[in-house]
Amino acid sequence: MHPKSCHKLEGQNLSCTRDDRELFAGLGFAVHPGQVLLLEGNNGSGKTSLLRIICGFREPDTGTVSWGEEAIPHYQYYSDMAYVGHLDGIKKELTVLENLKLSQALSQSGRLTIQQALDKVRLSGYEDTLIQALSAGQKRRLSLARLLITHNVLWILDEPFTSLDKQGITLMESLMAEHCANGGMIVMTSHHDIDLNGVDVQRIRLS
Amino acid sequence: MFLVPDPVVRFFHRMASPPHFYALTERLMPWLVVIFLLLAASGLYGGLYLAPPDYQQGDSYRIIYIHVPSAWMSLFIYVVMAIAGGIGLVWRIKLAEIVMISSASVGASFTFIALVTGSLWGKPMWGAWWVWDARLTSELILLFLYLGVIGLYGAMDDKRSASKAVAILALVGVVNIPIIHYSVEWWNTLHQGPTVTKMDKPSIHVTMLVPLLLMALAFKIYYLIALILRARIELLQRERNAQWVKTKAVEEGGL
C-alpha cells in the first residue's frame, strides 16, 4: 500500500534558538514505519518550531533532518509527507469539494477517494458548502480529510485535536492508528493525552 | 559547489570567519584612514586651488570633484552589493551577506550626495534645480532601490532570512545599473555625456582630471572604511551569543 514506507525520518543534533533563547539543542530522533513521535512540552517550549524545521520551512541552527538517508528538502520527501499546522491551508471562498480537489492536484492521490474521506470525517453532505460557513471544528475535520485523500507516508500534525469535539477526537485517534497499521508514520504535538491502541509511540519532552 | 573547487570555498569560509575578519579590520583601519586623508587632501587642494576655472562654467564646475566621484560610487556600490548578495545566496557565506547589507546605507548616502550636488550644480548651469531627464531620474530611482533594500532589511526580524530577501532584491534590481549608465547615450538629455570615462581620450584637461581621479580613489577608500565600520556592528549583532563577542563586550563595554 505504501510502496516507499521503508523510508525512515531521522533528526540528528538539531538545535534551534529564538531571540537568544535556546529552545532545544543536540536533539536527535528516528521514526520508523508504524511509529508515532509525540512531542510534548509546556507552552512555548518549541514544539511548533521543531515541526516547522521537520517540514523544511525553517533551517535548524545546527543539525539535519533526513528522509531515506538523504537530507531534506528533496523531491521524494515532499511527495511522501503531509502537514497540518496551526493554519488550515484551506480557502474560505471555495467549497469543501473544490478544496479537496485542489489538494489532490497538488499531490498524488492517496488511499481514499474524496467521498470516502468525507464520510470518514463526517462531513458528507457538506460537499458544496463554502468553507466560511463551517464552524471551527468542521474546518479542522476538513483539513484532516486532506490527509486521507493524498499519497503520504509521513503525517506531521501540530495539535490536531484543537477545536474537535469528543467524537472528533476519537475519530482522529482511530485514523491515526489505522495509518500506522498501514506502515505510516506520524510526528505530532498535543496537549491532550492520546490513546492509540497497539501503536508504538515515542515521546520527546521539550522544556 | 558550482564549478568552484572545494579548497577555494573552504579558504573563503575560513577567511570569512567572524572573529578573524573582525581582528583583521581592526589592524587595517588606521592605514585606511591615513590613505584616505592623504588622497582627499591632495585631491581637494588640486581641485579647489590649483585647477583653473572652467572657461564656460567658471568656478561652479568645482562641484565636479564630489559630484562625479559620488555618482560613480553610487553605481559601483550597488554592483558590489548585488555581487555580494549573489555570493551570499549561493555559498551561504555570512560575511558576504554582511558586506551586502552594510553597503546599502553607504551607497544610499553616495546616491544622495550625487543627487544633491548635481542639483546644486544644475541651478547655475541649467537654471533649474531639477529636470526630469533620463540620467537624473534614473539616479533618483537608484536611491529608491537603495531605500527599498534598507527598508526590506529593516522590516524583517529574522536577519538570516532578511539577508536572503535583500540579496534577491539586489540581484533583480541590478538591471537598472546599465540603464543609468547608458541613459545619456540612449536619450538626448541635458546632462553631460561621458567625458572622463571615454577610455581613449578623456575630453577634460589634465589639471582638472588628476584631482578628480584622486577624489575618486579617496571615495573608494572611504567606502571601505564606512563598510568596515558598519559590517562590524552587523557582525557583533548577529554573533551576540558567541564567546568572542561576549569577551569583547566585557573588554570594551566600559564596565
Binding site: - | Y49, D59, I113
Partner: protein
C-alpha cells in the same frame, strides 16, 4: 588669490560650498553613527552579561 576670493568662487560660492558642506556632513555621519552604535551595543551586551551573572 585672497581668502575672500577663494570663498566667493567667482560668484558660485553658495552652490559650491553647500555641496561640499552637505557632502561632508553625510560622510561624517556615515562614520560616526556606526561608531556610536557599536559603543552602545557593546555596553548593552556587557550590561546583559552582568545581569545574567548576578
Amino acid at each position: 588669490m585672497s581668502a575672500q576670493e577663494f570663498l566667493a568662487m567667482g560668484g558660485y560660492g553658495f552652490y559650491v560650498w553647500t555641496s561640499y558642506g552637505i557632502c561632508l556632513v553625510v560622510l561624517v555621519a556615515n562614520v560616526v553613527i556606526p561608531v556610536i552604535q557599536r559603543k552602545q551595543f557593546l555596553r548593552q551586551q556587557a550590561l546583559k552579561q552582568k545581569r545574567q551573572d548576578s
